[in-house]
């Protein structure tokens, strides 16, 4: 699986850099490359390189990969149209809005459809949230108010919209660090920081796959030289994210800039990040590849990697003696209903020999 992973990264890098990819290395299962791409929401992007191979895949694999690319393309058209509709409607109603996520990241990609979005996000004035929701309703969206801090809307066949009232929810450590969304005097610094913090949030709490690392790479390419570095570092240090950001940037540059194959703990964490089904597959592969036993795997999962522990528990950097208490806290959190089910699935996977080929 590791070679498939490396080849997927190679295909993505070649697409981003507009260079011809190397032909499929011997022993690499291209179907698994495709599956890894789907899992990380980059299969459509990787297809651009696949089409340029001297010997592209044929038959069913080519067809499904192409269909994946076409589906992303159709969605991109529709999301662009939907976003424009909403902007026009907000303008007509004198509602201020900001876009800070996918619609701002997409233009950094060579082709807009290469960067898929699960939804379109807008930030609006809290006082205008209800009116903004009514506007979505008038455009055909079925809307739901979530605790008066956001509205989620859906329109057939597949357009999801989210309206927020601030950069981050109040119950996160990032909620106040960027100030008021509509009062910033540093729009580029704020955009850069917002997306970094968003990526960090996902890294810490699961769901940081290849695509977010690629976002980080392109974000840094576009804005890295323009931002006020002292200001950016100061903000990242306030939320104890400076070191992690720096390490992620190095990884991003290695993967998508210089094309260096990196197999460190961070790389593996990102590789495994995401849906439980794939986590179980990865568990299977890692246990088979390394011949480590299940108990050791579960111990490592329970204890977490160093980066995650240092950001979630900043006190550990100076007081490593507190590790057992932090592990205890982590264990208690793992007993929450959603996390407990995931933990049970992983324990079952280790016990159940039928999970292994």
């Amino acid at each position: 699986m590791e070679r498939e992973w490396e080849y997927l990264l190679h295909l993505i890098r070649c697409a981003i850099q507009d260079i011809l990819p190397d032909e499929v290395p011997e022993g690499v299962d291209l179907r698994r490359v495709y599956e890894c791409g789907v899992y990380h929401h980059v299969a459509n992007l990787a297809f651009h390189s696949v089409e340029r191979l001297k010997a592209p895949p044929s038959g069913e694999l080519y067809d499904i990969w192409k269909a994946c690319r076409d589906k992303a393309l159709v969605l991109d058209f529709n999301q662009s149209f939907a976003a424009e509709e909403i902007r026009d409607a907000f303008s007509s109603a004198n509602i201020r809005w900001l876009e800070m996520q996918g619609t701002r990241i997409k233009p950094l990609y060579p082709q807009s459809d290469w960067r898929t979005m699960s939804d379109i996000d807008f930030i609006v004035d809290p006082s205008n949230l209800e009116r903004a929701g009514d506007i979505l309703g008038s455009l055909g969206y079925v809307c739901k108010n979530v605790r008066d801090i956001e509205i989620v809307g859906f329109r057939m066949p597949n357009i999801n919209v989210e309206l927020h009232v601030g950069f981050f929810p109040d119950n996160t450590i990032y909620s106040s660090v960027l100030g008021d969304a509509f009062s910033t005097e540093r729009p580029i610094d704020t955009l850069y920081l917002y997306n970094i913090l968003h990526i960090i949030k996902h890294y810490l709490y699961g769901g940081c796959g290849i695509r977010r690392v690629l976002d980080l790479y392109l974000l840094n390419q576009a804005y890295g030289e323009c931002v006020d570095r002292d200001y950016v570092q100061a903000v990242l240090k306030r939320v104890n994210a400076a070191e992690l950001t720096s390490e992620l940037l190095v990884l991003a540059n290695d993967w998508f800039g210089s094309g260096i194959s990196v197999k460190n703990e961070m790389a593996q964490y990102i590789w495994c990040s995401g849906l439980h089904g794939n986590r179980l597959n990865e568990l299977q592969n890692r246990l088979q590849d390394s011949k480590r036993n299940g108990i050791k795997y579960l111990f490592e999962r329970f204890c977490g990697n160093k980066q995650v522990m240092y950001v979630r528990y900043p006190i550990l950097e100076k007081h490593k003696i507190l590790y057992p208490f932090c592990w205890l806290h982590r264990g208690v959190r793992a007993l929450k209903p959603g996390k407990r089910k995931r933990l049970q699935r992983e324990i079952k996977a280790v016990r159940n020999k039928k999970m292994f080929k």
């Binding site: 651009h48 393309l73 058209f77 149209f81 055909g140 057939m156 066949p157």
Partner: protein, 89 residues
């Protein structure tokens, strides 16, 4: 005549592609790859109701050819749109 659905045409990888958008995407959830002449016909049909003769005239001007030269290609394309249920006459 005009297009039955609202389409957006964009250049993707150097080639024009048309996709039905908004609520029309539920009725036609696919994409159409066009060439230069197809893109022109699409744009003319998207602008509003247009007669076949007017479309032919504008197409001929756009490509700097006679209407007689343009006629077979234009009619063939319109026929394809009709066969796929994309034309409102």
């Amino acid at each position: 005549m005009k297009l039955k659905y609202k389409f957006i045409v964009r250049n993707v990888g150097g080639k024009p592609v048309a996709v039905a958008v908004g609520q029309d995407n539920q009725k036609f959830n696919g994409m159409i790859k066009l060439n230069a002449s197809g893109e022109t016909i699409f744009q003319l049909l998207s602008a509003g109701d247009i007669s076949q003769e007017e479309l032919l005239a504008r197409f001929a001007v756009q490509f700097d050819i006679s209407e007689e030269t343009a006629r077979p290609a234009v009619l063939a394309f319109l026929s394809q749109l009709q066969d796929n249920g994309l034309l409102d006459e």
